[in-house]
Symmetry: C2
């Protein structure tokens, strides 16, 4: 395992700032060090300091890193922009390949349910970001939908079989999910935010296959358009 | 939730040093901040500094804490002694109640399998620490054995039904488990070390019921006797 790639990963898609240094993949790898804290909207203030602290505490050097991995969202637009900007600067400055991992996927790998899994993140404006997954034999989690944004009751209407719900949106819309879904639903409300360690583990696969972000052009996966974009587009489309 | 108890928790049972500040319980609570790092045997060198860093980063004050919780093992004797000593000093110095949570239980709550769960930690000397659990409806994990120490092949002989194996001992003795158990076994080798956040969540129940450690007399739960104890006892018992 000592030759397995060492990856510095972080996620700022929610108010939880998560940072990890991982070695290897989910099944055989290990977390060299990890930290997370509820940072409100001040990711920019504390992210780089926390990365420094983690590198020092684990006695790791930038030169030990094989790649940098960042959670690409969806989630807080401001959080995602700050995360992507810092990831690009860091990867460019240190000459490291940059890998993007969906923040929804990072939550999904924690679930490992034998049922259909739906990851639900709060998208504000009475909507949720969501994506469906299945856990295959060998505990490999695969997507079976595209990430989407919709009101929680519309999501409920899509669910036709026993399901496991996880992610920060589960608590926020617990009333709606409890009322509209029957007893066959399983709630994992404690799986809230993407863990950077899972982003690092997933990124080791991308590193192997050379699936990197282009540092110049990469953007977060917002899933929905920002208010600014909508306000720019709507006069054209509604005219 | 803002009135839920805030608990500072840590675990030093393995080479992974884990620290967390939690608010509330597993189902409704949240992780205010958490960190972990592979510290080898130098827990004493870095634990207090890391606690300070986490308190500062989460902008929490000692006065915000309702209790201190410590992983009581089993695990590394040196790690457990350092953890318990620092926990006692901290709790005594700050006048906080001290709560002990089994390091095996802290791993078990992460598993949430519908099968029988066996948590396996490496005990060195070709043995494992182990304990069996079931996940009840409502995702409450309950013990169905006492913690024990034994060779891995003896543990395998105790398993008579489909089982989920988790904990750091799974990887160490993967060959034995794979050879002696049939396909009905599920391995979760990525659930390795006790997470302090789970210790904090479990401790919120102990806080409610007033189940505290006595700061003067509390000891880790070593499960087996140390070499020193054995060497003191054996001349008497073998004579």
């Amino acid at each position: 395992m000592s030759s397995a790639p060492v990856i510095l990963a972080f996620d700022t898609a929610t108010s939880n700032c998560s940072i990890a240094i991982t070695r290897g993949d989910l099944h055989e790898g290990k977390v060299v060090g990890a930290l997370s804290f509820d940072s409100g909207v001040t990711h920019s203030k504390r992210l780089l300091g926390a990365i420094d602290w983690l590198l020092q505490t684990t006695e790791m050097n930038i030169d030990d890193l094989s790649a940098l991995a960042v959670g690409t969202g969806p989630g807080s637009f401001t959080g995602l922009r700050i995360g992507m900007a810092i990831a690009k600067g860091f990867a460019h400055g240190k000459g490291l390949p940059l890998i993007g991992i969906s923040s929804l996927d990072a939550i999904a790998v924690e679930v490992r349910s034998e049922r259909l899994t739906c990851v639900v993140m709060d998208a504000r404006k009475k909507e949720v970001y969501c994506c469906f997954y299945r856990c295959e034999p060998g505990s490999r989690t695969v997507r079976c939908s595209d990430p989407a944004v919709m009101p929680p009751d519309k999501l409920v209407a899509l669910i036709k079989e026993p399901v496991t719900l996880a992610g920060g949106g589960v608590r926020v819309y617990n009333d709606i999910f409890s009322e509209l879904l029957d007893e066959s639903v399983e709630f994992l409300p404690w799986i809230v935010a993407p863990q950077a360690a899972n982003i690092g583990f997933l990124a080791s696969g991308s590193l192997e296959s050379g699936n990197f972000l282009d540092i110049d052009s990469a953007t977060p996966d917002y899933v929905r358009s920002s208010d600014v974009q909508l306000s720019l587009v709507s006069p054209l489309t509604s005219g």
